[in-house]
Symmetry: C2
Subunit: 455 residues, 2 copies
C-alpha cells in the first residue's frame, strides 16, 4: 500500500477541492427548477471520470435526469465490476436549520458539511479517487471497471429500469459495487446485505370548494383537516402497528436463526436514541429496534399540510388538506400490492363529507437481500478488517436502493454495498456532512478491494 499511500497524501488537498466543487452543484432531483443542476452534476462526474483516465465516458439520456456511464476494459480475462453511485441530492429544507449554506461546502473539525457530502457525492467520489491512484501508480486498474452514476436516486430512480434494459449488454458485469450507503455505527465497519424497498403516495382531501369562515360554517360542514387527521391516525395503531388491511400479508417472517443473528449485532439503543434527541424507542410491538429498522416494513407520513400556517390566527375552515406518505418494504412485499392495499384502506375509511384521492408517486422498489455466502462478501469483509482493524458485522439498511432490486431483476447480477457513510451524517436532513476519515479510509479500502478482486 505504501506506493498508493504516497500518491494519496500528495494529492489529498486537490481531491478535497474537487469534491467541494462537486458539492457546490445544487443537483436536487426532486425539484423541477434544479433539473439543469442535476445535468451539470452529471457532466461534472463525466469530466471527473475522464480526468482519472477512464477511456470511454458518456452521458446516458433518460426520460428524466441523465446518468453517467464510464467504461475501462483492461483485459478480457479479468473480471468486470460496475461501480454504482448517484449525482443527485435531496432537497435542503428547512434551510434555516443549516449552520452553513447547503451548497457552500465547509470544513469544520475534520468534517466536510454540504448537501450530498455523504449521500452520495462524497461516497461515489471515494472509488473514483481509488481508481485514480491505482491508475496513476500501476498504469491501469487491476480489473475491468464500469461506472453508472445516476441522477434520480433521491426520487426513487424512476428512469433506471428502462435505462438498465436499454443498455443491459453494455452494463454486463460480474457484480455491482454500490458506492452509496454506509456503516450503522460511527467509523466501525459493517457490510450491508440488504435494503428495504419503498413506495410513496399522496393523499388529497377536498371538502368545500374553497376556504370557509370557521364561524359561518364551523360545525355544519366537514373539515378536510379533521378528515385527513382521522385517515392518517387510522393507518397505524397508537403503538406503531400498521393497520392497513393486508399490509403484512407477504412479509417474510424471520427464522429464529435470523432473529438471533440480528440480536447479536452490537447495537447501543441508548446511543441511537440520544443521537436523534429522543428519549424512548417507538414501533411495532414484538420487535427490537434493529428489527424494526431492518426487517419490518413501515408506513410514515413524510409531510402534511392544509389551512393557515402563518403567525397568529386565521379562523378558516379550509377546503383542502394534503399528506405525503411512504412505506419501507421488506421481502417479499410487492410495492404495487401494498399501494393497492393502502388505496383500499383509505377508500374504506374515508370520513363523510369529503372527497379523498390517493395517488401513487413514481419510484417504488421492492426490498433486496444479497445472496447469503456470496464470495464478494468475504473479500469485502477482509479488506474492511484490514483497514479498520475490526471484523465487520453483516447488517441491513433501513433505507432503499431501488437500483439493488433492479440490478438483480434486469441485469441478473449481484449487488454488493461497499460504502463509507456514518449513521450520524445527517443525510436527508440539515447539516449533512462526511468525515474526512471516511474519505481517507474509503479510498484505501477501494484500492485494496479492487486489487483483491483481480486475484
Amino acid at each position: 500500500m505504501a506506493k498508493y499511500e504516497a500518491y494519496l497524501q500528495q494529492h489529498r488537498e486537490r481531491h478535497l477541492q474537487e469534491l467541494a466543487d462537486f458539492l457546490r452543484i445544487p443537483s436536487i432531483s426532486a425539484l423541477p427548477e434544479h433539473a439543469g443542476d442535476v445535468r451539470r452534476a452529471a457532466e461534472w462526474a463525466a469530466a471527473g471520470l475522464r480526468a482519472i483516465g477512464v477511456p470511454h465516458v458518456e452521458i446516458l439520456e433518460t426520460a428524466g435526469h441523465p446518468s453517467v456511464y464510464g467504461e475501462w476494459m483492461v483485459d478480457e480475462s479479468l473480471p468486470t465490476y460496475l461501480i454504482y453511485g448517484h449525482v443527485d441530492v435531496q432537497p435542503v429544507d428547512p434551510e434555516h436549520l443549516w449552520e452553513t449554506p447547503p451548497f457552500e461546502p465547509t470544513l469544520r473539525d475534520g468534517r466536510l458539511y454540504a448537501r450530498g457530502a455523504a449521500d452520495d457525492k462524497g461516497n461515489l467520489f471515494i472509488p473514483l479517487k481509488a481508481v485514480e491512484a491505482l491508475a496513476a501508480v500501476d498504469g491501469r486498474p487491476p480489473v475491468n471497471l464500469k461506472f453508472l452514476l445516476e441522477g434520480e436516486e433521491e426520487i426513487g430512480s424512476p428512469s433506471l429500469p428502462a435505462l438498465l434494459e436499454a443498455h443491459a449488454d453494455k452494463l454486463r458485469c460480474d457484480a455491482v459495487l454500490c458506492a452509496d450507503g454506509g456503516f450503522y455505527r460511527v467509523q466501525r465497519p459493517d457490510i450491508t446485505v440488504g435494503s428495504r424497498g419503498i413506495c410513496s403516495m399522496q393523499i388529497d382531501v377536498v371538502g368545500a370548494a374553497g376556504d370557509l369562515h370557521s364561524g359561518s360554517y364551523g360545525g355544519a360542514i366537514q373539515n378536510p383537516l379533521h378528515a385527513l387527521a382521522a385517515i392518517l391516525a387510522g393507518l397505524r395503531s397508537p403503538d406503531g402497528k400498521i393497520l392497513v388491511e393486508g399490509f403484512y400479508d407477504d412479509v417474510r417472517e424471520l427464522t429464529p436463526e435470523e432473529k438471533e443473528a440480528i440480536a447479536k449485532v452490537p447495537f447501543d439503543e441508548a446511543e441511537f436514541l440520544a443521537g436523534v434527541g429522543v428519549s424512548q424507542p417507538f414501533g411495532e410491538p414484538g420487535y427490537s429496534t434493529l428489527e424494526r429498522l431492518w426487517v419490518r416494513p413501515t408506513l410514515e407520513v413524510n409531510g402534511m399540510w392544509g389551512g393557515f400556517q402563518g403567525e397568529g390566527v386565521k379562523t378558516v375552515l379550509p377546503g383542502q388538506a394534503h399528506a405525503k406518505i411512504s412505506c419501507r418494504l421488506v421481502p417479499d412485499q410487492d410495492p404495487d400490492k401494498v399501494m393497492s392495499a393502502i388505496e383500499a384502506h383509505v377508500k374504506a375509511h374515508t370520513p363523510p363529507g369529503v372527497t379523498v384521492t390517493v395517488s401513487r408517486i413514481a419510484g417504488s422498489a421492492p426490498a433486496y437481500v444479497v445472496p447469503p455466502g456470496h464470495p464478494l462478501l468475504k473479500k469485502a469483509a477482509a479488506v474492511l478488517e484490514d483497514v479498520y482493524g475490526e471484523e465487520p458485522v453483516f447488517t441491513r439498511a433501513g433505507g432503499t436502493l431501488p437500483v439493488a432490486a433492479m440490478v438483480e431483476s434486469i441485469l441478473k447480477t449481484d449487488f454488493i454495498f461497499f460504502s463509507f457513510g456514518d449513521p450520524d451524517n445527517q443525510v436527508h436532513a440539515p447539516n449533512e456532512f462526511l468525515r474526512l476519515e471516511s474519505f481517507d479510509k474509503g479510498v484505501r479500502s477501494y484500492i485494496k478491494l479492487l486489487n483483491s478482486l483481480a486475484e
Copy 2:
C-alpha cells in the same frame, strides 16, 4: 327619503371611489409585517369621519393596532348611539385563488371584489355615508353619535378590553350599533341577536431533534406527524361530536321553544351546501344545521403542517408537526375553562415518543345574546321591512364578535347588529365581495334607523 335619495345618487360614484381607496390598504392585522397598513387604514377612517363632519376624531393607541374614535354630540337631550366597525382585514392566502388581486378593488357584475369589501370595510363604510347624507341634507345627524373603529377584530380584539376600560366614560352610550356582519340569506333581511364566542390554540409536537431519513429511522422513532394526526383525530368523533372531556359542561341547552323558533327560520339546506360546493351536511348528531351553526359549540382545525410539502417525494421522518385549532363557543361556556379542558385532554392523550405543547392564542371571547325583546330590535326590524319589503327574522351569527361580550361586560350597554353583508360574500376566503345593492340599501337603512332613533 326623497331629499336623501337625491343626495345619495348625486354622490354615489364618489362614495364607491372612496371605498375602493379604503380597500386598497392591506390592513391584515394577523401579519406583523402589515402593522403599518392597519395604522394607515385607521388614519384613512379618521380622515373619513372628519370629512363627513364629525367634529371630534382621534386615534386611540393600544398595546397592538390602534382604534379610531369619533364623536358628534348634537343635543344632550337626544340619545347617543355608538357605531362599531373594524378597519383590519383577514389574510389573503391562498392568494392564487383570487380572480383579481385582493387589494386591487374590482367592480364586476354589480359586485365590488376585494379583501375587506364586506368584512368589514364595506360594512362600516355604510353608516359613515348615511351620516354624511344626514348631515349634508339636515345640517346634523338626528341623534348623538359616537364611532369606534378598531384594528384588531380579525385577531380577536386582544387590546379592546383595556381600551374599553380606559375610555369607558368617553364611550358611554345608549346602545352600540354594530356595522359588522350581515344576513344569512342573500339580500333578505334578518337581525342577528347573538354571536358565538371563540378561543384559539396552537398545538406543537416535537419528536427527534431534527428531520430524519425515513429509511434509517422509520419504524423505530415516533413520527410527530402521526402523533399530531392521532391527537387531532381524538378531538372529535367521526360524526363531529367534540370528545374533549368537559367541553359541553356549561353549554346552555335549548328550551323546546328556542328549538322550535330556530326550526321556523327559513333555511334552504341544499342551497347552503351547494353554495360551498359540498354534497352533504356534517356535524354533531342530534342537531339541525342551523343549530350546529348558531347554538352549538365547535372545534375546528384551522391549519396543520409539518414535513415536506413540495413537489415530488422527500422521504423524511420530520422532527416537528404543528396545528392551529379554534373553538366557537355558546352561552354559557367560559373560554378559559374550555382551553383548560383542551389542554388537559391533549395532555391525557399525548402519544408516546413526542413532546406536545398546547399554547393559548390571545383574543378569546365568550358568546353574546341580545336581551330578548329589546326596543331597538323592533325599530331596526321596522326599518328593514320598509327597505327590503319583507319582515326580517331573528337569527344568530355562527361567527364571533368579541366586542359584543366586551361591550356588555365593560360598558354595561346593549349591542345590536345592524349590518348588510350577504352569506356568499366569501369573507375570510379568496374573492371576497360586497354587492353594490347591499351598500345602497344599507345606507338607506341606516338613515331611516338613525332618524327613527331620534323619535
